[in-house]
């Protein structure tokens, strides 16, 4: 089979999966569709691996498939890396979906659309022209929109979430289209190769405008502040395999888009572009992690943490562009490596976290942390997997999150000495943003694990939770395994990442050398030995365990009731909740979070010194949504109300409008002529 056929066959399998998901009887359709999706993933991943191994892009063209423009597929190493990323999330997500489907949401539309969504995700990075890219991009947006709406019958929130998502994804796509069309018009051709060839000769103002427009477009897909508001709405409402794909893979394609246009098509730009990217990244990282730390809904927490992680990737991307603009190619490629590794790692752990959140939802029927607790005893495997994935996202060594943060820190560290005013100011602030983000991520995930999985169950549903089917655990296990492997032997994927970086930044020497098992920066002083570190940590834990056994006189513990200040029989209500756990952080950052708090005290009629009842209400809503979007929505609504006066229902009046408009247009034409 030639390489091009792999892509085509993969796409065909994916579409076949969609058809079989729609057409087969209920009993087979989930498994049949899943099997075909795996086939599609395997074929596309094989093509991607081939491209990454050889470095030669796969080029396909069919003039007949799309009218006027035809279909162009060019899978270069940069795109291939993202195809692999999608496959890494899609395979476990599909497996998880088999178990998830037994608990509802196995509607015909879901089993039909899900495979098509996966297929478009796999194909977007191999688009080679504006038309192909936009068609695939829109298909991806529409199918994911349908999937967000799968549970609309059960939840009102899903409808509202879908409306928000639709506005952002369509608005973003429109901006991307405008930007790419401007480039295509100047290039006199719509293939990416032609655009890349001509884009260098464009006026700086046009290039800058295109970059900003496209950045906003892709940023809205990537969940970058202030275009992130759809994420904490749509991710919780979508079925968990879909949220895993949306958060792990689809959002990553937003980053792909920025790299594609910024580096590949426009070939880099002036310093201010990248300062904008850096600023957006820092703002997203801080805002996302802060809201993740104060969320009480498990999937909402994960959604905000996606904004945070994409923010870190943009921080790396911005630093990379900045260093390239100030002529430090080595640092630029290191920054881009960091960005790609961050996105790749994010796919692994965020996929695992969303899938386990889905398992929790299946087992307990809720995702409200204040209703959970004690799940590690009731769902030992899901709990342990969630714990490891949470450790990965909080960048604890020797897991994969740590590798990404280390690379980002090294890029910034060496960039701090690059001797340019812009980077002198930007780099320390970026390090500070990255650090605070890391700290707040610890708050968010200690809370998610500690409140959700440890302690006493806070509701009957949590008390009665039982472990989910083996397929769902296996799915999460695959992704957690990826987190461990990518953390201990990151050099496994570095050759692929290097190829991708060379595609995006041609002419730049690569900064990373896969030096056996150690990560060694070439030309810069920085070594990381993750495998040795992991080995030493394991040995140390074993030694300390042995020491405790030897030194302790009575090694077996006695089970006792926890200390409750002398109070017997503790209840679940004595524990800290997700809200109270995050209260110190919320109080420290109340200028940013602006929680809405309401204390209602009613006194006893006889004396005001005695309280009859007190209710306390605390809610943290999204400040950007409240301050930026709600006023706009309100204004549009008021405008709409005002416009109703124009529509009294009289046909004569409407004819009059038509005549008036025609006269005005003719007058305008006459004036122009």
């Amino acid at each position: 089979m030639t390489d091009g056929t792999l892509i085509v066959a993969g796409a065909a399998l994916g579409l076949g999966a969609g058809v079989s998901g729609a057409a087969l009887p209920r009993r087979f359709r989930v498994t049949a569709a899943a099997t075909l999706v795996w086939g599609a993933c395997a074929l596309e991943a094989a093509a991607a691996v081939h491209v990454l191994a050889t470095g030669h892009p796969i080029v396909l063209r069919s003039a007949e498939l799309l009218p006027f423009t035809g279909v162009d597929l060019v899978l270069n190493p940069l795109g291939a890396l993202f195809v692999l990323l999608v496959a890494i999330v899609a395979v476990p997500a599909t497996l998880h979906g088999i178990g998830y489907a037994q608990h509802g949401s196995a509607t015909r539309s879901a089993t039909c659309v899900f495979p098509i969504f996966v297929t478009t995700l796999l194909l977007v990075p191999s688009a080679g022209s504006v038309a192909t890219f936009m068609v695939l991009w829109e298909l991806m947006a529409l199918t994911s929109l349908v999937l967000v709406l799968v549970d609309h019958g059960r939840s009102q929130a899903a409808q509202s979430a879908a409306a928000w998502y639709a506005v952002f994804t369509q608005g973003g796509a429109a901006l991307i289209l405008v930007g790419l069309l401007v480039l295509a018009a100047h290039a006199n051709g719509q293939s990416f190769a032609a655009i890349a060839h001509h884009a260098r000769h464009l006026a700086p103002a046009v290039r800058g405008l295109v970059f900003v427009v496209v950045l906003v477009g892709f940023g809205s897909k990537a969940g970058v502040v202030p275009f992130h508001v759809w994420l904490p709405k749509a991710h919780p409402e979508a079925p968990s395999p879909v949220s895993a794909l949306m958060s792990g893979a689809m959002v990553a394609l937003g980053v792909y888009g920025i790299v594609l246009v910024g580096d590949d098509l426009l070939g880099g730009g002036p310093v201010w572009w990248w300062l904008v990217v850096l600023g957006l990244g820092g703002a997203s990282a801080l805002f996302g992690s802060l809201h993740a730390a104060s969320s009480t809904d498990l999937k909402r927490l994960l959604a905000y943490s996606t904004t945070d992680n994409i923010g870190l990737a943009l921080l790396a991307l911005g630093a990379s562009g900045l260093f390239e603009a100030t002529r430090h190619p080595l640092l630029a490629s290191l920054g881009l490596v960091a960005a790609l590794v961050l996105v790749l790692n994010h796919a692994a752990f965020k996929g695992a976290l969303f899938l386990s959140a889905g398992s929790v939802q299946v087992a307990t029927g809720t995702r409200d942390l204040d209703q959970l607790g004690g799940l590690l005893r009731r769902m030992p495997q899901t709990g342990a997997l969630f714990l490891v994935a949470a450790a990965a996202i909080t960048a604890l060594p020797p897991l994969n999150g740590f590798i990404g943060e280390w690379l980002l820190f090294q890029a910034l560290l060496h960039g701090a000495a690059s001797g340019n005013t812009a980077s002198d100011i930007a780099v320390p602030l970026a390090v500070a943003a990255m650090a605070l983000t890391a700290g707040l991520t610890v708050v968010a995930f200690v809370k998610a694990v500690g409140i959700g999985f440890l302690g006493r169950p806070r509701s009957e549903a949590a008390d009665g939770a039982v472990e989910v089917p083996i397929t769902m655990r296996l799915a999460v296990g695959l992704l957690v395994g990826a987190c461990i492997v990518l953390g201990v032997i990151p050099t496994l994927v570095f050759p692929a990442v290097e190829r991708a970086v060379k595609t995006a930044l041609p002419g730049v020497g690569t900064a990373l050398l896969a030096h056996g098992v150690d990560v060694q920066l070439v030309g810069l002083r920085g070594v990381l030995a993750p495998a040795t570190l992991a080995g030493t940590m394991t040995v140390a834990v074993l030694v300390v365990l042995m020491l405790r056994r030897v030194l302790a006189h009575q090694p077996a513990p006695r089970v006792v009731e926890a200390w409750g200040c002398g109070r017997q029989l503790q209840t679940a209500r004595m524990q800290y909740t997700a809200t109270s756990f995050a209260e110190p952080v919320q109080r420290v950052f109340d200028d940013v979070l602006r929680p809405v708090q309401d204390l209602d005290v009613s006194h006893v009629a006889e004396s005001r010194y005695y309280i009859e009842a007190a209710t306390f209400h605390n809610a943290v809503d999204d400040g950007i949504e409240r301050g930026l979007y709600r006023p706009v929505i309100g204004a549009v609504r008021r405008w709409g109300q005002a416009a109703r006066a124009l529509q009294p229902g009289s046909v004569h009046r409407y004819l009059g409008y038509g005549l008036g408009a025609l006269v005005l247009m003719l007058a305008a034409l006459a004036m122009i002529a």
Partner: protein, 320 residues
């Protein structure tokens, strides 16, 4: 012993470091307590008291709260183990510890956070009010200390163009003047505040308190008894010693062994002990003269540390 291969020498040196931190840590805590007591006009327990206490704790029975999971017994082990790994790779007595090429300040910070994160989880494990209170406060302080810590690392790394700790120490040895640069001084000031915050000393947390409204770390580990408590105590003391050891080797690295020669390591060990003891005594004197600040004043303290670190980075750029 010059015939010894560098690898084995480094291994021995690292082993010595781990033992020194493991035994010296509780002694440092004892010494700091002694100084406090004497300044307050009390006799105070002997310096070796913490070691005696630890031996006593190992003889007691282990207790496990009925709701606790496997995280509860794992957390103290992980705490001690990660600090021990940090003691292996950090240049304390020698600038050539085993696995020193991977000894990065950034790695050190995240390695130590493994133990902290597990202890914070353990606080929530038993399902009590105290544990939750302790871990909620501990994560908040940890989160706020992070920016100061990483920007400090950025400032410290500028001399050696690397965050590799042995490289920084060696660079300082080769260029003694770099210790007195404003960059280094600001960064070290910030680092000291962060060390105080991270190891739960006054004015951030009072290790001697058991008053529920004020305690942070003690609330978090309230459920531990016997050998588990002994491990937590040892781990915390080791972490304080390790962090102070890193601090003194950045302030005044002289005396630290640059080879893996036995006599050099012995001198390095002595110098390390003396320097850490001095800093510990200074901290203790400092602690006597101040009260614990309110929990919601800690952000201001850590913001101050952050500003110091940022000044360090900026002054480095100005002086350049």
């Amino acid at each position: 012993m010059s015939g010894i291969s560098p690898m084995i020498g480094a291994g021995i040196a690292s082993g010595v470091q781990v033992v020194a931190v493991g035994v010296g840590g509780p002694m440092l805590v004892g010494a700091m307590r002694k100084v406090r007591c004497r300044l307050e006009g009390r006799v105070g327990p002997p310096i070796l008291q913490p070691l005696v206490d630890i031996r006593k704790l190992f003889r007691k029975q282990r207790l496990r709260p009925d709701q606790a999971t496997w995280i509860f017994p794992l957390a103290p082990v992980a705490l001690v183990a990660t600090v021990a790994v940090a003691a292996v790779i950090t240049p304390l007595a020698t600038t050539r510890p085993a696995l020193g090429s991977g000894s990065d300040l950034f790695v050190l910070v995240y390695l130590l956070s493994v133990g902290s994160a597990l202890l914070e989880l353990e606080g929530l494990d038993a399902g009590t009010a105290f544990g939750g209170m302790g871990s909620s406060r501990a994560v908040t302080i940890g989160a706020l200390a992070e920016p100061a810590l990483l920007v400090t690392i950025l400032a410290l790394s500028a001399t050696a163009h690397s965050s590799n700790l042995p490289a920084i120490v060696r660079a300082t040895l080769g260029d003694p003047g770099s210790v007195a640069t404003p960059q280094r001084l600001f960064a070290l000031g910030s680092l000291l505040i962060v060390i105080v915050a991270e190891s739960g000393r006054l004015p951030v947390d009072n290790p001697a308190t058991h008053l529920e409204l004020t305690m942070v770390h003690e609330a978090m580990i309230l459920e531990y008894a016997g050998p588990d408590l002994a491990l937590v105590t040892v781990g915390e003391a080791m972490r304080l010693t390790l962090l102070l050891g890193v601090f003194v080797n950045l302030v005044a690295p002289w005396g630290v062994a640059t080879t893996t020669h036995v006599s050099a390591i012995a001198i390095g060990l002595g110098a390390l002990g003396a320097k850490v003891a001095v800093v510990g005594v200074v901290l203790a004197v400092f602690e006597v003269s101040m009260a614990k600040v309110r929990l919601f004043r800690i952000p201001e303290l850590l913001a101050g540390a952050f500003v110091l670190a940022l000044l360090g980075v900026v002054s480095g750029l100005v002086v350049r």
